[in-house]
Amino acid sequence: MARNLETWMPLLLSAAVQTIELMLIAYAIGLVAGAFLVAMRLSTRRWLAATAGAYVTAIRGTPALAQLFFIYFGLAELGLVMSSYQAAIIGLGANAAAYVAEIYRAGIESIPRGQVEAARAIGMRTPMVYRYVVIPQMVTVVLPPLCNQGIVLLKETSVASLIAAPELMLRTRELVAESYMPLELYVIAALMYFALAFPLAQAVRLLEQRLRHPR
């Protein structure tokens, strides 16, 4: 077991770094695409708002695994061939975008309408209203759920192993196939996810308390 650990740990740790990379790239895509989505969703143009709404519902109502399979296997059949890593980044990013857009929307809707109307009344245009009135106040509302979404995404990356994207779960499965020690290896993998997600979750909890009772 000790000798196994010596050979496993460097491989698993580098795979954990890949998991973090995958999560961060997908998260970045989600944060940016989510902003576009919420802008569409709150647009006065009906068809834009309806399209964004349908996208959010479709993503939130289906499993990430089905989305990844469609993007990786389905689109390849239609001629759009991607590497599994690209498919994982696009799939998880597109998935995160829908949840992030909902978080942004809750943040925007938490600002009393009167403030936006007052800003308009003194002559501010929409970008200025967002820049100086809405966004500064919405940060405290959206920050904790955004961080939680990051944690969800970190765990969701494990599903990308099922389309053979290089990350922690895939590497663990490869080692299981070599050593046939599934219990030890999967427990180690679970503990590595725990070591990443648990401190983050506690940090979010602290952040939430701070934001609720500012000094």
């Binding site: 399979f69 999967y186 648990f198």
Partner: protein, 226 residues
């Protein structure tokens, strides 16, 4: 398997549709089983949290934080492949329901805790002051109100479990994703099949989302009346 000739034309579509619907049935059974397990385990855990001592509360905290921090896929692999090596062999479905239930119980415990905390503490104090015991306060004052408060969150939990059941395909539970993968191997119609799978999930999850939204407005109304 490959020796069997595949149906053609309309029959092929009926074959795919029938297989996917059978898978959807298993998905629903798996979701329901895991949800029941989650709620039962969470009721126990939330009870320990409310009435237990420090040790019990620490254990509940450890359970919740551990199972919320590890991916469902890792948990299912431990239960299905891992435990088999030490003689605890499980079939795919029990392993899937157990794994999804253990995971769901962690989230459900948090939901119950939030529901109990949402009932104003003045009510419990008043009930204690007129001589009710702690379990009586829970039974007659807190729970009747907490149940209504947690309903929207429980519906969302059910949606999450529904989506997580797809991961059980990795341990060969014969739910819709697993059958879809087999169908793709047989027919190579991956875009059509995976899109149909997504539609089936939406057919189940969208009504549940609507229900959660409706419950939320109902809870809001009763809260406003107080």
């Amino acid at each position: 398997m490959t020796a069997l000739a595949l149906p053609t034309g309309v029959d092929l579509h009926l074959y795919i549709l029938g297989t996917l619907l059978a898978g959807a049935g298993v998905t629903v059974v798996c979701t329901a089983g895991a949800l029941v397990l989650s709620v039962a385990a969470a009721a126990l855990l939330a009870g320990l949290q409310s009435f237990g001592g420090v040790a019990a509360r620490v254990c509940v905290f450890a359970y919740v934080e551990f199972f919320r921090a590890i991916p469902v896929l890792a948990l299912l692999f431990i239960l299905y492949f891992g435990l088999a090596t030490i003689g605890l062999k499980m079939s795919p479905m029990p392993a899937a329901i157990l794994g999804l239930g253990l995971n769901g119980a962690a989230y459900c415990t948090e939901i119950f805790r939030a529901g109990i905390l949402a009932v104003p503490s003045g009510q419990s104090e008043a009930a204690r002051a007129i001589g009710m015991r702690r379990w009586q306060v829970m039974r007659w004052i807190v729970l009747p109100q907490a149940v209504r408060i947690v309903l929207p969150a429980l519906t969302n939990l059910a949606i999450n479990i529904l989506k997580n059941t797809s991961v059980a395909s990795a341990v060969a539970a014969p739910e819709i994703m697993f059958l879809a993968r087999n169908l793709v191997n047989e027919t190579y119609l991956s875009p059509q099949i995976y899109l149909s799978v997504c539609l089936v999930y939406l057919l189940i999850s969208v009504p549940m989302m609507k229900l959660a939204g409706w419950l939320e407005t109902r809870v809001g109304v009763t809260a406003a009346k107080r």
